[in-house]
Every structure is written in C-alpha cells, then in structure tokens.
Amino acid sequence: MEPSLASYLALSGILFTIGAVGVIFKRNALGMFMCIELMLNAVNLTFVAFSRYYADVTGQLFVFMVMSVAAAEAAVGLGIIITFFRNRVTIDVDDASILKN
C-alpha cells in the first residue's frame, strides 16, 4: 500500500512548522539560516509529492530550481554572516542593531 498524498503533505507541514518556529526561537544567525533551509526542504517535499500523484515532471523540475536558489542563498547568506562576524565578533542577531539609532 502506498502512503497517501495527505501523509506526505502532513510531513511537509510538520517540518515547515518546526523550521518556522526555529527561525523565531534561534538567535544565532547560522541557526536561523539552517531553519530556513529546513523550510525550503519542506516545500520541496510537497512539490515532489504532487509531482508523483499527478504524474507530472514539472514539480520535480522546480524542486531543482529551488535547490539552485538555496545554493545561491547559502553563498550570499554565509558571506553576510562572515562579514557581520568580522565587524561585531558575534553572530547573535540581537546585536545586529547598528541601524537602530
């Protein structure tokens, strides 16, 4: 017996929820970054599940696009984190308040 489409969507929703809660709870910029990656993966899972159940290749193709965008995001995001660490010697997002005053 195949697992139903609903169970794949439920898994994806649970992973997305964990990622979204993690983005708010984490104060470490790297931790937030990893939680965003988790949310992207949850969305990828819905794409692949729908692609399977509608027998359409488009979903899997756009998973590939999302992965490329995630790779680009990793390069730029980690660059920003390193620059921030160089200037402030921390990556705690609460300390990222230079623009406040």
Binding site: M1, V48, L61, S68, A71, G79
Partner: protein, 194 residues
C-alpha cells in the same frame, strides 16, 4: 507495503532530526542534525519514485550546502547560544505561530484525506533523469538560464561581500584615519592655546 513502512520510518527520522536541530544550542550539533533531516528526506523522495531528486538532495544539500555551513562554523569559532534574551515575547510569538501552522497542517491533512479519491496516475518513470533532463532543456529552458544567471550573481556577490581590503588599501585607510585624528588634535590644541 514496504513503501509505507519506509515512508513512516524516514518521516519519523526527519521529524526527530528537525526537532533536535531546533533544540540544540551548539550550531555544530544543529548542522549535523540538519544533515540527518536531508538524508531522511532523500529516502522519502525514493519512496516517491524520484531517484534524481533524491540524488541531487544528497549532493547539493547534504554535500555542498552543509559543508559550507560547517566550514563557516569552524571559521567563526562560536560560543553556544545564550539561553535567554531580552526579546522574551518572541517565544510567545513563536509558540503561537507554531500552533497556527500545526492546526493548518492538520486541516490540510483532513481535507486531502477526505477529498474524493481521484484516479492516481502511478507513472513510475516520471522521476527518471532522462525525463527531467528532456523537459529541462526544452520546455523549461528559460528558468534554467535564469537560475544560471542567479548563480553567477551569487558567486560575484559572495566574493565581494567576504573580500578583505588588500594591504595598500588598508594602509591608506589607516593613514587617512590617523591624519584626521591629528588634525582634530591640532585644532584642539589651537583652541586650548587660545
């Protein structure tokens, strides 16, 4: 039957690793847990008859992105997250958001589970690399090219962001700063001598 058992096994593994990722304060433990999530998800993709996406998941996410993250953790030499912060109301916001999203997930689960069963086309060949490549370079050529340009922009942006000034530029910046301070001092002296 086997598919079902494998799905529940790897779904449980993915959720457990995701919770462990959010729970751990040390970024390195979080990164290792996230690798666990990625590998479990790639096994879930195999149960969805998408072998190409499963392979790419391991290569790009577990291979490339997480190695980059672990390298950055190593470079930055971080301490653990401090346990409490001054933005405590965020914990309430986070719990509320999580609750809303969970309720939404349950709603979607019931809505999809109760919807009338459509005749599912169980075409196992959709996820083959040949099919994906064929549609990638014919029907979806423009998105592929846009993604290529995006990756180039990301490379250039990352290099420019992380670049250090080279030695003459640093010396010039330091010299400018010193002359500026000297001038300020001279002006101060002048005022004092008056």
């Amino acid at each position: 039957m086997a598919n079902d058992a494998l799905f529940y096994l790897f779904a449980g593994l993915a959720i457990a690793c995701a919770i462990s990722m959010v729970y751990h304060k040390n970024p390195l433990y979080s990164a290792i847990s996230l690798v666990g999530v990625f590998i479990a998800l790639s096994c879930v993709y195999v149960t969805l008859a998408a072998p190409f996406i499963a392979a790419v998941q391991v290569l790009i996410y577990a291979g490339a992105i997480m190695v980059l993250v672990v390298f950055v953790i190593m470079l930055l030499n971080l301490e653990d997250d401090r346990p409490f912060n001054r933005l405590r109301y965020l914990y309430g916001v986070g719990a509320g958001l999580g609750l809303i999203l969970l309720v939404q997930t349950l709603f979607i689960f019931y809505a999809v589970a109760r919807s009338p069963k459509q005749p599912v086309k169980m075409d196992e060949t959709v996820g083959r690399t040949l099919n994906i490549g064929a549609s990638m370079y014919s029907e979806y050529l423009l998105p592929v090219e846009i993604v290529g340009v995006l990756l180039l922009m990301a490379i250039i942006g990352a290099v420019i962001l992380v670049r250090r000034l080279n030695q003459p530029e640093i010396e010039k910046v330091v010299e400018d700063e010193l002359t500026r301070r000297n001038q300020a001092d001279e002006i101060g002296d002048y005022r004092i001598s008056l």
